[in-house]
Protein backbone atom coordinates (compact mmCIF):
# COMPACT_ATOMS: atom_id res chain seq x y z
CA UNK A 1 0.00 0.00 0.00
CA UNK A 2 1.13 3.53 -0.82
CA UNK A 3 2.69 5.36 2.11
CA UNK A 4 1.15 8.80 2.51
CA UNK A 5 2.79 9.90 5.73
CA UNK A 6 6.32 8.99 6.68
CA UNK A 7 7.70 10.07 10.02
CA UNK A 8 11.17 9.34 11.35
CA UNK A 9 12.67 10.37 14.69
CA UNK A 10 10.34 13.34 14.89
CA UNK A 11 11.12 15.70 17.75
CA UNK A 12 9.52 18.95 18.78
CA UNK A 13 11.02 21.17 21.46
CA UNK A 14 9.31 24.29 22.69
CA UNK A 15 11.34 27.12 24.13
CA UNK A 16 9.36 28.31 27.10
CA UNK A 17 11.46 31.16 28.42
CA UNK A 18 14.70 29.57 29.54
CA UNK A 19 13.16 26.13 29.84
CA UNK A 20 13.04 23.71 26.94
CA UNK A 21 9.97 21.54 26.82
CA UNK A 22 10.13 18.45 24.66
CA UNK A 23 6.65 17.79 23.33
CA UNK A 24 7.70 15.04 20.93
CA UNK A 25 10.75 12.96 21.65
CA UNK A 26 11.36 10.76 18.65
CA UNK A 27 8.25 9.54 16.89
CA UNK A 28 8.44 6.95 14.13
CA UNK A 29 5.44 5.88 12.14
CA UNK A 30 4.02 5.50 8.65
CA UNK A 31 0.43 5.97 7.56
CA UNK A 32 -0.77 4.46 4.31
CA UNK A 33 -3.29 5.65 1.82
CA UNK A 34 -6.84 4.74 2.80
CA UNK A 35 -6.14 4.15 6.48
CA UNK A 36 -8.56 5.18 9.22
CA UNK A 37 -6.39 6.10 12.19
CA UNK A 38 -7.10 7.29 15.72
CA UNK A 39 -4.41 9.13 17.64
CA UNK A 40 -5.01 8.84 21.35
CA UNK A 41 -3.39 10.12 24.48
CA UNK A 42 -4.04 12.13 27.57
CA UNK A 43 -3.58 15.86 27.47
CA UNK A 44 0.11 16.72 27.47
CA UNK A 45 0.97 13.47 25.71
CA UNK A 46 2.09 15.35 22.61
CA UNK A 47 -0.78 14.34 20.37
CA UNK A 48 -1.85 17.94 19.68
CA UNK A 49 1.70 18.92 18.78
CA UNK A 50 1.85 15.89 16.55
CA UNK A 51 -1.38 16.86 14.85
CA UNK A 52 -0.15 20.42 14.26
CA UNK A 53 2.93 19.02 12.56
CA UNK A 54 0.86 16.53 10.54
CA UNK A 55 -1.32 19.44 9.42
CA UNK A 56 1.73 21.52 8.44
CA UNK A 57 0.74 24.23 10.90
CA UNK A 58 4.01 23.67 12.72
CA UNK A 59 7.44 22.30 11.88
CA UNK A 60 9.37 19.61 13.68
CA UNK A 61 12.49 20.66 15.58
CA UNK A 62 14.28 17.56 14.35
CA UNK A 63 13.44 14.52 12.30
CA UNK A 64 11.66 13.84 9.06
CA UNK A 65 8.07 14.38 8.05
CA UNK A 66 7.17 13.47 4.50
CA UNK A 67 3.63 14.12 3.27
CA UNK A 68 3.02 12.37 -0.06
CA UNK A 69 6.77 12.30 -0.54
CA UNK A 70 7.27 16.03 0.19
CA UNK A 71 9.76 16.73 2.97
CA UNK A 72 8.04 19.47 4.97
CA UNK A 73 11.37 20.92 6.05
CA UNK A 74 12.08 21.93 2.46
CA UNK A 75 9.25 24.45 2.29
CA UNK A 76 8.84 28.01 3.44
CA UNK A 77 5.76 29.41 5.16
CA UNK A 78 3.94 30.36 1.99
CA UNK A 79 4.60 26.98 0.45
CA UNK A 80 3.33 25.33 3.63
CA UNK A 81 0.15 27.39 3.24
CA UNK A 82 -0.24 25.95 -0.22
CA UNK A 83 0.42 22.42 1.07
CA UNK A 84 -2.20 22.89 3.80
CA UNK A 85 -4.60 24.16 1.19
CA UNK A 86 -4.10 21.26 -1.20
CA UNK A 87 -3.13 18.30 0.96
CA UNK A 88 -4.77 18.67 4.36
CA UNK A 89 -8.43 18.81 5.25
CA UNK A 90 -8.90 20.10 8.78
CA UNK A 91 -11.85 19.36 11.06
CA UNK A 92 -11.67 21.00 14.48
CA UNK A 93 -13.30 20.37 17.82
CA UNK A 94 -14.87 23.83 17.90
CA UNK A 95 -15.89 23.66 14.21
CA UNK A 96 -14.02 26.88 13.36
CA UNK A 97 -16.44 28.12 10.76
CA UNK A 98 -15.99 31.76 9.77
CA UNK A 99 -18.73 33.72 11.54
CA UNK A 100 -21.28 35.77 9.57
CA UNK A 101 -20.41 33.76 6.51
CA UNK A 102 -22.85 31.30 4.94
CA UNK A 103 -22.25 27.54 4.97
CA UNK A 104 -21.68 27.71 1.23
CA UNK A 105 -19.09 30.49 1.53
CA UNK A 106 -17.34 28.61 4.31
CA UNK A 107 -17.07 25.53 2.14
CA UNK A 108 -15.84 27.63 -0.78
CA UNK A 109 -13.07 29.22 1.26
CA UNK A 110 -10.25 26.69 0.67
CA UNK A 111 -11.02 26.93 -3.05
CA UNK A 112 -10.76 30.72 -2.88
CA UNK A 113 -7.24 30.35 -1.54
CA UNK A 114 -6.66 27.55 -4.07
CA UNK A 115 -7.61 30.04 -6.81
CA UNK A 116 -10.49 27.97 -8.19
CA UNK A 117 -12.82 30.03 -10.44
CA UNK A 118 -16.00 31.25 -8.74
CA UNK A 119 -18.52 29.22 -10.75
CA UNK A 120 -16.61 25.98 -10.17
CA UNK A 121 -16.31 26.79 -6.48
CA UNK A 122 -20.01 27.25 -6.07
CA UNK A 123 -20.84 24.03 -7.88
CA UNK A 124 -18.38 21.97 -5.85
CA UNK A 125 -19.48 23.52 -2.53
CA UNK A 126 -23.10 22.69 -3.33
CA UNK A 127 -22.14 19.09 -4.12
CA UNK A 128 -20.23 18.68 -0.91
CA UNK A 129 -22.97 20.18 1.27
CA UNK A 130 -25.39 17.80 -0.47
CA UNK A 131 -23.06 14.94 0.40
CA UNK A 132 -23.01 15.75 4.13
CA UNK A 133 -26.77 16.20 4.13
CA UNK A 134 -26.94 20.00 4.27
CA UNK A 135 -27.91 20.68 0.67
CA UNK A 136 -30.90 22.71 1.78
CA UNK A 137 -29.11 24.80 4.37
CA UNK A 138 -26.30 26.16 2.22
CA UNK A 139 -27.39 29.72 2.87
CA UNK A 140 -27.50 29.45 6.65
CA UNK A 141 -25.05 31.32 8.83
CA UNK A 142 -23.02 29.27 11.32
CA UNK A 143 -25.03 30.64 14.24
CA UNK A 144 -28.19 29.26 12.63
CA UNK A 145 -26.82 25.70 12.59
CA UNK A 146 -26.67 23.06 15.33
CA UNK A 147 -23.33 21.67 16.49
CA UNK A 148 -23.70 18.56 14.37
CA UNK A 149 -24.63 20.62 11.34
CA UNK A 150 -21.66 22.95 11.87
CA UNK A 151 -19.34 19.99 12.03
CA UNK A 152 -20.81 18.65 8.81
CA UNK A 153 -20.14 21.98 7.13
CA UNK A 154 -16.58 21.77 8.46
CA UNK A 155 -16.21 18.27 6.99
CA UNK A 156 -17.52 19.48 3.64
CA UNK A 157 -15.00 22.30 3.81
CA UNK A 158 -12.19 19.85 4.59
CA UNK A 159 -13.03 17.88 1.46
CA UNK A 160 -13.13 20.76 -1.06
CA UNK A 161 -9.66 20.45 -2.55
CA UNK A 162 -9.72 16.63 -2.36
CA UNK A 163 -6.80 16.48 0.09
CA UNK A 164 -4.90 13.22 0.54
CA UNK A 165 -5.39 13.38 4.32
CA UNK A 166 -8.32 14.46 6.47
CA UNK A 167 -7.19 15.52 9.90
CA UNK A 168 -9.81 15.76 12.64
CA UNK A 169 -8.93 17.13 16.05
CA UNK A 170 -11.48 15.90 18.62
CA UNK A 171 -14.24 16.26 16.04
CA UNK A 172 -16.93 15.07 18.45
CA UNK A 173 -15.62 16.88 21.52
CA UNK A 174 -18.33 19.53 21.45
CA UNK A 175 -21.18 17.30 20.26
CA UNK A 176 -23.91 15.29 21.94
CA UNK A 177 -23.81 11.53 21.52
CA UNK A 178 -26.30 11.42 18.66
CA UNK A 179 -24.47 14.05 16.61
CA UNK A 180 -21.17 12.34 17.47
CA UNK A 181 -22.54 9.17 15.99
CA UNK A 182 -23.63 10.93 12.81
CA UNK A 183 -20.25 12.61 12.42
CA UNK A 184 -18.35 9.36 12.96
CA UNK A 185 -20.59 7.69 10.38
CA UNK A 186 -19.63 10.37 7.90
CA UNK A 187 -15.93 9.80 8.63
CA UNK A 188 -16.39 6.05 8.22
CA UNK A 189 -18.12 6.58 4.94
CA UNK A 190 -15.37 8.93 3.75
CA UNK A 191 -12.84 6.27 4.65
CA UNK A 192 -14.83 3.61 2.78
CA UNK A 193 -14.69 5.89 -0.25
CA UNK A 194 -10.89 5.68 -0.03
CA UNK A 195 -9.99 8.77 1.99
CA UNK A 196 -7.21 8.68 4.54
CA UNK A 197 -8.76 9.85 7.81
CA UNK A 198 -6.80 10.66 10.97
CA UNK A 199 -8.75 11.44 14.12
CA UNK A 200 -7.13 12.82 17.25
CA UNK A 201 -9.21 11.94 20.29
CA UNK A 202 -9.01 11.03 23.92
CA UNK A 203 -12.28 9.12 23.86
CA UNK A 204 -11.89 5.34 23.45
CA UNK A 205 -15.44 5.16 22.02
CA UNK A 206 -14.42 7.31 19.12
CA UNK A 207 -11.17 5.42 18.58
CA UNK A 208 -13.23 2.22 18.32
CA UNK A 209 -14.61 3.43 14.98
CA UNK A 210 -11.16 3.42 13.39
CA UNK A 211 -8.96 0.66 12.02
CA UNK A 212 -5.75 1.62 13.77
CA UNK A 213 -5.18 3.21 17.15
CA UNK A 214 -1.91 5.00 17.91
CA UNK A 215 -1.42 6.00 21.53
CA UNK A 216 0.91 8.77 22.69
CA UNK A 217 2.39 9.33 26.10
CA UNK A 218 5.08 11.80 27.08
CA UNK A 219 5.94 12.61 23.49
CA UNK A 220 6.37 9.02 22.38
CA UNK A 221 4.23 6.45 20.63
CA UNK A 222 3.60 3.79 23.26
CA UNK A 223 1.06 1.73 21.43
CA UNK A 224 0.19 1.19 17.78
CA UNK A 225 -2.42 -1.50 17.19
CA UNK A 226 -4.90 -2.49 14.56
CA UNK A 227 -8.53 -2.34 15.49
CA UNK A 228 -11.61 -4.15 14.29
CA UNK A 229 -14.14 -1.33 14.07
CA UNK A 230 -17.49 -1.94 15.61
CA UNK A 231 -19.61 0.13 13.29
CA UNK A 232 -22.82 -1.42 14.47
CA UNK A 233 -22.43 -0.08 17.99
CA UNK A 234 -25.73 1.43 19.16
Amino acid sequence: METIIEIQDLEKVYQNGAIEVAALRGVNLNIHKGEFVAIMGASGSGKSTFMNILGCLDRPTRGLYCLEGLDINDYNDNELSFIRNQKVGFVFQSFNLIPRTSALKNVELPMVYGKVPASKRRKRAHELLEKVGLGERYNHMPNELSGGQKQRVAIARALTNQPPIILADEPTGNLDSRSSLEIMEIFSELNRDGNTVIIVTHEPDIAEWTHRVITFRDGLVIDDRLNQPNTTSE
Partner: protein, 400 residues
Amino acid sequence: MLFFENVKLALVAIKSNKMRSFLTMLGIIIGVSSVIAITTIGNGANSVVSKEFDAFGKNNANIYPNSSEEDTSGVPSQFTLSDINALKERFGDELRYVALYMNGSSEIKIGRMTGQFNISGIADNYMRITGVDLLYGREFTTNDVENRRDYIMIPESAAKKFFGRDDVTGQALSININNKLREMTVIGVYRPRESIFSRLTSNTSYTVYVPYTLWEDRPASVLDIYINEGYDVQKVLDKIKSYLALIHKLAPGYYVSNSVESQQATMSQILGILSASIGAIAAISLLVGGIGIMNIMLVSVTERTREIGIRKSLGAKTGDILVQFLIEAMLVSALGGFLGAALGIGAASVGLSMAKVKVSIDPTVVLLAVGFSALVGMFFGLYPARKAAKLDPIEALRYE
Protein backbone atom coordinates in the same frame (compact mmCIF):
# COMPACT_ATOMS: atom_id res chain seq x y z
CA MET B 1 -10.32 37.21 -8.56
CA LEU B 2 -9.03 37.29 -5.03
CA PHE B 3 -9.31 41.08 -5.12
CA PHE B 4 -13.07 41.01 -5.55
CA GLU B 5 -13.36 38.33 -2.87
CA ASN B 6 -11.49 40.66 -0.55
CA VAL B 7 -13.66 43.64 -1.43
CA LYS B 8 -16.75 41.53 -0.69
CA LEU B 9 -15.21 40.35 2.57
CA ALA B 10 -14.40 43.91 3.55
CA LEU B 11 -17.93 45.04 2.75
CA VAL B 12 -19.32 42.26 4.96
CA ALA B 13 -16.98 43.32 7.76
CA ILE B 14 -17.98 46.98 7.37
CA LYS B 15 -21.67 46.13 7.26
CA SER B 16 -21.56 43.90 10.31
CA ASN B 17 -20.11 46.75 12.35
CA LYS B 18 -22.05 49.66 10.87
CA MET B 19 -21.75 52.09 13.76
CA ARG B 20 -18.11 51.38 14.33
CA SER B 21 -17.28 51.67 10.63
CA PHE B 22 -19.15 54.95 10.41
CA LEU B 23 -17.36 56.43 13.41
CA THR B 24 -14.07 55.29 11.94
CA MET B 25 -14.94 56.94 8.65
CA LEU B 26 -15.98 60.12 10.38
CA GLY B 27 -12.41 61.29 10.81
CA ILE B 28 -11.77 60.88 7.09
CA ILE B 29 -15.15 62.37 6.21
CA ILE B 30 -14.45 65.50 8.25
CA GLY B 31 -10.92 65.81 6.89
CA VAL B 32 -11.82 65.36 3.24
CA SER B 33 -14.97 67.46 3.38
CA SER B 34 -13.19 70.40 4.97
CA VAL B 35 -10.29 70.24 2.52
CA ILE B 36 -12.67 70.06 -0.42
CA ALA B 37 -15.03 72.74 0.87
CA ILE B 38 -12.13 75.10 1.42
CA THR B 39 -10.46 74.50 -1.92
CA THR B 40 -13.78 74.70 -3.78
CA ILE B 41 -14.69 77.96 -2.07
CA GLY B 42 -11.15 79.21 -2.70
CA ASN B 43 -11.41 78.36 -6.39
CA GLY B 44 -14.84 79.95 -6.53
CA ALA B 45 -13.55 83.13 -4.95
CA ASN B 46 -10.58 83.15 -7.26
CA SER B 47 -12.72 82.80 -10.36
CA VAL B 48 -15.06 85.53 -9.13
CA VAL B 49 -12.18 87.86 -8.48
CA SER B 50 -10.56 87.15 -11.80
CA LYS B 51 -13.90 87.72 -13.52
CA GLU B 52 -14.15 91.08 -11.81
CA PHE B 53 -10.68 91.93 -13.01
CA ASP B 54 -11.46 90.68 -16.49
CA ALA B 55 -14.47 92.98 -16.56
CA PHE B 56 -12.26 95.96 -15.85
CA GLY B 57 -10.12 94.76 -18.65
CA LYS B 58 -6.85 93.05 -18.04
CA ASN B 59 -5.08 95.71 -20.07
CA ASN B 60 -6.32 98.47 -17.80
CA ALA B 61 -3.76 100.40 -15.74
CA ASN B 62 -3.34 103.55 -13.75
CA ILE B 63 -0.30 105.81 -13.71
CA TYR B 64 0.33 108.14 -10.79
CA PRO B 65 3.22 109.79 -9.00
CA ASN B 66 5.15 107.73 -6.54
CA SER B 67 3.85 109.04 -3.21
CA SER B 68 7.18 108.49 -1.45
CA GLU B 69 8.80 110.89 -3.91
CA GLU B 70 6.07 113.48 -3.60
CA ASP B 71 7.19 116.69 -5.18
CA THR B 72 6.71 119.69 -2.91
CA SER B 73 5.72 121.93 -5.76
CA GLY B 74 2.97 119.45 -6.58
CA VAL B 75 1.62 120.87 -9.76
CA PRO B 76 4.27 119.89 -12.30
CA SER B 77 3.88 116.21 -11.46
CA GLN B 78 0.14 116.22 -12.12
CA PHE B 79 -1.35 115.41 -15.48
CA THR B 80 -3.10 117.78 -17.82
CA LEU B 81 -4.72 117.63 -21.23
CA SER B 82 -1.37 118.39 -22.83
CA ASP B 83 -0.03 115.13 -21.36
CA ILE B 84 -2.94 113.28 -22.90
CA ASN B 85 -2.24 114.82 -26.28
CA ALA B 86 1.47 114.08 -25.99
CA LEU B 87 0.79 110.46 -25.10
CA LYS B 88 -1.73 110.05 -27.91
CA GLU B 89 0.80 111.35 -30.35
CA ARG B 90 3.71 109.30 -29.09
CA PHE B 91 1.90 106.01 -28.21
CA GLY B 92 -0.91 106.10 -30.75
CA ASP B 93 -0.55 102.43 -31.59
CA GLU B 94 -0.17 101.06 -28.10
CA LEU B 95 -2.85 103.11 -26.38
CA ARG B 96 -6.39 102.11 -26.78
CA TYR B 97 -7.72 104.61 -24.31
CA VAL B 98 -6.24 107.33 -22.22
CA ALA B 99 -7.98 109.86 -19.99
CA LEU B 100 -7.40 111.96 -16.94
CA TYR B 101 -8.91 110.24 -13.95
CA MET B 102 -11.58 112.63 -12.82
CA ASN B 103 -14.42 112.12 -10.44
CA GLY B 104 -16.71 113.93 -8.14
CA SER B 105 -20.14 113.76 -6.71
CA SER B 106 -23.23 115.85 -6.85
CA GLU B 107 -26.62 116.08 -5.27
CA ILE B 108 -29.41 115.69 -7.74
CA LYS B 109 -33.01 116.77 -7.48
CA ILE B 110 -35.63 116.23 -10.14
CA GLY B 111 -39.18 116.94 -9.13
CA ARG B 112 -39.58 115.53 -5.67
CA MET B 113 -36.86 112.95 -6.19
CA THR B 114 -33.44 113.51 -4.69
CA GLY B 115 -30.32 111.44 -4.84
CA GLN B 116 -26.60 111.34 -5.11
CA PHE B 117 -24.62 111.01 -8.33
CA ASN B 118 -21.09 109.72 -8.31
CA ILE B 119 -19.63 111.33 -11.36
CA SER B 120 -16.88 109.67 -13.37
CA GLY B 121 -15.04 111.48 -16.11
CA ILE B 122 -14.37 109.28 -19.11
CA ALA B 123 -13.22 109.61 -22.69
CA ASP B 124 -14.76 108.26 -25.87
CA ASN B 125 -15.23 104.53 -26.35
CA TYR B 126 -15.10 103.84 -22.61
CA MET B 127 -18.32 101.83 -22.58
CA ARG B 128 -17.27 99.66 -25.50
CA ILE B 129 -13.85 98.97 -24.03
CA THR B 130 -15.17 98.04 -20.60
CA GLY B 131 -18.08 96.11 -22.10
CA VAL B 132 -20.88 98.00 -20.41
CA ASP B 133 -24.36 97.49 -21.86
CA LEU B 134 -25.75 100.68 -23.35
CA LEU B 135 -29.53 100.32 -23.38
CA TYR B 136 -30.51 103.57 -25.03
CA GLY B 137 -28.73 106.39 -26.83
CA ARG B 138 -25.02 106.44 -27.50
CA GLU B 139 -21.75 107.04 -25.73
CA PHE B 140 -19.38 109.96 -26.07
CA THR B 141 -17.52 110.53 -29.30
CA THR B 142 -14.06 112.07 -29.62
CA ASN B 143 -15.84 115.19 -30.68
CA ASP B 144 -18.03 115.30 -27.55
CA VAL B 145 -14.98 114.94 -25.34
CA GLU B 146 -12.80 117.47 -27.16
CA ASN B 147 -15.57 120.05 -27.30
CA ARG B 148 -16.56 119.58 -23.69
CA ARG B 149 -20.18 118.87 -24.41
CA ASP B 150 -22.46 118.73 -21.37
CA TYR B 151 -23.53 115.16 -22.00
CA ILE B 152 -24.22 112.53 -19.38
CA MET B 153 -24.85 108.77 -19.30
CA ILE B 154 -26.91 107.45 -16.41
CA PRO B 155 -27.81 103.95 -15.19
CA GLU B 156 -31.28 102.63 -15.92
CA SER B 157 -32.06 102.54 -12.20
CA ALA B 158 -31.55 106.30 -12.04
CA ALA B 159 -33.65 106.78 -15.17
CA LYS B 160 -36.49 104.85 -13.56
CA LYS B 161 -36.21 106.67 -10.29
CA PHE B 162 -35.95 110.21 -11.56
CA PHE B 163 -37.96 109.99 -14.77
CA GLY B 164 -40.16 107.00 -14.20
CA ARG B 165 -39.11 105.26 -17.41
CA ASP B 166 -36.12 103.65 -19.12
CA ASP B 167 -35.45 105.65 -22.24
CA VAL B 168 -34.69 109.13 -21.04
CA THR B 169 -32.26 110.20 -23.78
CA GLY B 170 -32.62 113.90 -24.48
CA GLN B 171 -33.80 114.68 -20.95
CA ALA B 172 -32.06 117.44 -19.08
CA LEU B 173 -30.74 117.48 -15.53
CA SER B 174 -28.35 119.69 -13.66
CA ILE B 175 -25.38 118.57 -11.62
CA ASN B 176 -22.38 120.15 -10.01
CA ILE B 177 -19.04 119.42 -11.65
CA ASN B 178 -15.88 121.01 -10.29
CA ASN B 179 -17.96 123.51 -8.32
CA LYS B 180 -19.82 124.58 -11.37
CA LEU B 181 -23.51 123.87 -11.91
CA ARG B 182 -23.98 122.41 -15.37
CA GLU B 183 -27.09 121.69 -17.35
CA MET B 184 -26.54 118.21 -18.73
CA THR B 185 -28.32 116.31 -21.50
CA VAL B 186 -28.78 112.57 -21.12
CA ILE B 187 -27.37 110.92 -24.22
CA GLY B 188 -27.20 107.36 -22.97
CA VAL B 189 -28.76 104.93 -20.48
CA TYR B 190 -26.64 101.98 -19.43
CA ARG B 191 -27.07 98.85 -17.40
CA PRO B 192 -24.39 98.45 -14.72
CA ARG B 193 -22.41 95.27 -14.77
CA GLU B 194 -23.44 92.65 -12.21
CA SER B 195 -20.63 92.38 -9.74
CA ILE B 196 -20.24 91.02 -6.25
CA PHE B 197 -19.00 94.43 -5.19
CA SER B 198 -22.05 96.23 -6.58
CA ARG B 199 -24.24 94.23 -4.24
CA LEU B 200 -22.20 95.49 -1.33
CA THR B 201 -22.67 99.15 -2.17
CA SER B 202 -25.82 100.99 -1.24
CA ASN B 203 -28.40 101.77 -3.84
CA THR B 204 -28.87 105.40 -2.93
CA SER B 205 -26.12 106.68 -5.17
CA TYR B 206 -25.74 106.25 -8.90
CA THR B 207 -22.63 106.17 -11.01
CA VAL B 208 -22.97 108.54 -13.94
CA TYR B 209 -20.49 109.27 -16.71
CA VAL B 210 -19.54 112.62 -18.21
CA PRO B 211 -16.63 113.65 -20.49
CA TYR B 212 -13.53 114.06 -18.36
CA THR B 213 -12.88 117.35 -20.09
CA LEU B 214 -15.75 118.94 -18.16
CA TRP B 215 -13.35 119.46 -15.26
CA GLU B 216 -11.77 121.98 -17.65
CA ASP B 217 -8.19 122.82 -16.75
CA ARG B 218 -8.05 121.02 -13.47
CA PRO B 219 -5.06 118.71 -13.42
CA ALA B 220 -5.36 115.06 -12.39
CA SER B 221 -2.98 112.98 -10.35
CA VAL B 222 -3.97 109.72 -12.02
CA LEU B 223 -4.07 108.62 -15.65
CA ASP B 224 -6.54 105.95 -16.69
CA ILE B 225 -5.12 103.85 -19.50
CA TYR B 226 -6.05 100.86 -21.61
CA ILE B 227 -3.31 99.19 -23.63
CA ASN B 228 -4.17 97.67 -26.99
CA GLU B 229 -4.26 93.89 -27.40
CA GLY B 230 -1.01 92.32 -28.47
CA TYR B 231 1.25 94.58 -26.43
CA ASP B 232 3.04 93.63 -23.25
CA VAL B 233 1.18 95.77 -20.71
CA GLN B 234 4.11 96.15 -18.35
CA LYS B 235 6.61 97.10 -21.07
CA VAL B 236 4.33 99.74 -22.56
CA LEU B 237 3.62 101.15 -19.10
CA ASP B 238 7.32 101.42 -18.39
CA LYS B 239 7.87 103.34 -21.62
CA ILE B 240 4.96 105.68 -20.88
CA LYS B 241 6.17 106.33 -17.36
CA SER B 242 9.66 107.29 -18.41
CA TYR B 243 8.28 109.44 -21.23
CA LEU B 244 6.01 111.27 -18.79
CA ALA B 245 8.90 111.80 -16.38
CA LEU B 246 10.91 113.18 -19.28
CA ILE B 247 8.32 115.73 -20.39
CA HIS B 248 7.66 116.73 -16.77
CA LYS B 249 11.41 117.04 -16.27
CA LEU B 250 11.28 114.65 -13.34
CA ALA B 251 13.50 111.77 -12.32
CA PRO B 252 12.81 108.55 -14.22
CA GLY B 253 10.92 106.31 -11.83
CA TYR B 254 8.94 109.23 -10.52
CA TYR B 255 5.75 107.77 -11.88
CA VAL B 256 4.48 104.37 -10.94
CA SER B 257 1.76 102.25 -12.41
CA ASN B 258 -0.74 99.76 -11.18
CA SER B 259 -2.16 97.42 -13.76
CA VAL B 260 -5.17 95.17 -13.34
CA GLU B 261 -2.98 92.36 -14.55
CA SER B 262 -0.54 92.74 -11.67
CA GLN B 263 -3.34 93.29 -9.16
CA GLN B 264 -5.01 90.16 -10.33
CA ALA B 265 -1.80 88.19 -10.02
CA THR B 266 -1.28 89.46 -6.49
CA MET B 267 -4.88 88.77 -5.56
CA SER B 268 -4.94 85.23 -6.83
CA GLN B 269 -1.61 84.59 -5.17
CA ILE B 270 -3.03 85.74 -1.85
CA LEU B 271 -6.16 83.66 -2.34
CA GLY B 272 -4.05 80.66 -3.31
CA ILE B 273 -1.85 80.94 -0.23
CA LEU B 274 -4.90 81.45 1.93
CA SER B 275 -6.78 78.41 0.72
CA ALA B 276 -3.64 76.27 0.66
CA SER B 277 -2.83 77.09 4.26
CA ILE B 278 -6.36 76.55 5.50
CA GLY B 279 -6.46 73.38 3.44
CA ALA B 280 -3.25 72.22 5.05
CA ILE B 281 -4.73 72.74 8.49
CA ALA B 282 -7.79 70.77 7.43
CA ALA B 283 -5.52 68.03 6.12
CA ILE B 284 -4.33 67.45 9.67
CA SER B 285 -7.76 66.02 10.42
CA LEU B 286 -7.06 63.48 7.68
CA LEU B 287 -4.06 62.40 9.71
CA VAL B 288 -6.27 62.07 12.77
CA GLY B 289 -8.75 60.10 10.69
CA GLY B 290 -5.96 57.81 9.56
CA ILE B 291 -4.94 57.13 13.13
CA GLY B 292 -8.57 56.31 13.90
CA ILE B 293 -8.52 53.74 11.12
CA MET B 294 -5.32 52.23 12.42
CA ASN B 295 -6.80 51.99 15.90
CA ILE B 296 -9.99 50.31 14.81
CA MET B 297 -8.15 47.94 12.47
CA LEU B 298 -5.97 46.83 15.39
CA VAL B 299 -9.13 46.12 17.37
CA SER B 300 -10.56 44.26 14.42
CA VAL B 301 -7.44 42.13 14.02
CA THR B 302 -7.53 41.16 17.68
CA GLU B 303 -11.24 40.37 17.50
CA ARG B 304 -10.76 38.24 14.46
CA THR B 305 -7.62 36.44 15.55
CA ARG B 306 -9.40 33.12 15.45
CA GLU B 307 -10.80 33.83 11.99
CA ILE B 308 -7.27 34.58 10.84
CA GLY B 309 -6.13 31.26 12.31
CA ILE B 310 -8.91 29.42 10.49
CA ARG B 311 -8.07 31.11 7.21
CA LYS B 312 -4.41 30.25 7.61
CA SER B 313 -5.21 26.62 8.40
CA LEU B 314 -7.28 26.50 5.22
CA GLY B 315 -4.35 27.69 3.14
CA ALA B 316 -4.38 31.48 3.31
CA LYS B 317 -0.89 32.80 2.70
CA THR B 318 0.60 35.65 4.73
CA GLY B 319 0.00 37.91 1.74
CA ASP B 320 -3.65 36.87 1.48
CA ILE B 321 -4.35 37.95 5.04
CA LEU B 322 -2.34 41.15 4.57
CA VAL B 323 -4.28 42.06 1.46
CA GLN B 324 -7.60 41.24 3.11
CA PHE B 325 -7.05 43.64 6.00
CA LEU B 326 -5.37 46.24 3.84
CA ILE B 327 -8.31 46.31 1.46
CA GLU B 328 -10.68 46.59 4.40
CA ALA B 329 -8.78 49.62 5.73
CA MET B 330 -8.59 51.17 2.27
CA LEU B 331 -12.26 50.59 1.59
CA VAL B 332 -13.31 52.17 4.88
CA SER B 333 -11.25 55.26 4.23
CA ALA B 334 -12.05 55.48 0.50
CA LEU B 335 -15.73 55.29 1.40
CA GLY B 336 -15.12 58.00 3.97
CA GLY B 337 -13.29 60.00 1.33
CA PHE B 338 -16.20 59.69 -1.07
CA LEU B 339 -18.75 60.73 1.56
CA GLY B 340 -16.42 63.53 2.64
CA ALA B 341 -16.07 64.76 -0.94
CA ALA B 342 -19.86 64.76 -1.35
CA LEU B 343 -20.28 66.60 1.94
CA GLY B 344 -17.52 69.10 1.14
CA ILE B 345 -18.91 69.87 -2.30
CA GLY B 346 -22.36 70.17 -0.79
CA ALA B 347 -21.16 72.59 1.86
CA ALA B 348 -19.17 74.62 -0.67
CA SER B 349 -22.17 74.74 -3.03
CA VAL B 350 -24.44 76.02 -0.29
CA GLY B 351 -21.85 78.60 0.72
CA LEU B 352 -21.11 79.76 -2.80
CA SER B 353 -24.72 79.82 -3.91
CA MET B 354 -25.54 81.99 -0.91
CA ALA B 355 -22.90 84.37 -2.24
CA LYS B 356 -24.56 83.93 -5.66
CA VAL B 357 -21.39 82.56 -7.17
CA LYS B 358 -21.58 79.84 -9.78
CA VAL B 359 -20.20 76.60 -8.34
CA SER B 360 -17.79 74.71 -10.51
CA ILE B 361 -17.17 71.13 -9.38
CA ASP B 362 -14.04 69.47 -10.56
CA PRO B 363 -14.65 65.71 -10.89
CA THR B 364 -10.96 65.08 -10.50
CA VAL B 365 -11.23 66.55 -7.01
CA VAL B 366 -13.62 63.76 -6.03
CA LEU B 367 -11.36 61.18 -7.61
CA LEU B 368 -8.37 62.68 -5.88
CA ALA B 369 -10.18 62.70 -2.53
CA VAL B 370 -11.18 59.05 -2.83
CA GLY B 371 -7.75 58.05 -4.05
CA PHE B 372 -5.92 59.99 -1.40
CA SER B 373 -8.18 58.62 1.33
CA ALA B 374 -7.53 55.11 0.09
CA LEU B 375 -3.84 55.90 0.32
CA VAL B 376 -4.30 57.14 3.89
CA GLY B 377 -6.16 53.92 4.64
CA MET B 378 -3.38 51.88 3.10
CA PHE B 379 -0.71 53.72 5.07
CA PHE B 380 -2.46 53.42 8.40
CA GLY B 381 -3.85 49.97 7.64
CA LEU B 382 -0.46 48.51 6.87
CA TYR B 383 0.66 47.99 10.45
CA PRO B 384 -2.55 46.26 11.63
CA ALA B 385 -2.66 44.18 8.44
CA ARG B 386 0.93 43.07 8.91
CA LYS B 387 0.16 42.20 12.49
CA ALA B 388 -2.73 40.04 11.29
CA ALA B 389 -0.72 38.41 8.55
CA LYS B 390 2.13 37.50 10.87
CA LEU B 391 -0.05 35.72 13.42
CA ASP B 392 1.02 32.19 14.17
CA PRO B 393 -1.80 29.93 12.96
CA ILE B 394 -1.63 27.62 15.98
CA GLU B 395 -1.76 30.51 18.44
CA ALA B 396 -4.51 32.17 16.44
CA LEU B 397 -6.61 29.00 16.37
CA ARG B 398 -6.31 28.66 20.13
CA TYR B 399 -7.39 32.29 20.70
CA GLU B 400 -10.67 32.59 22.57
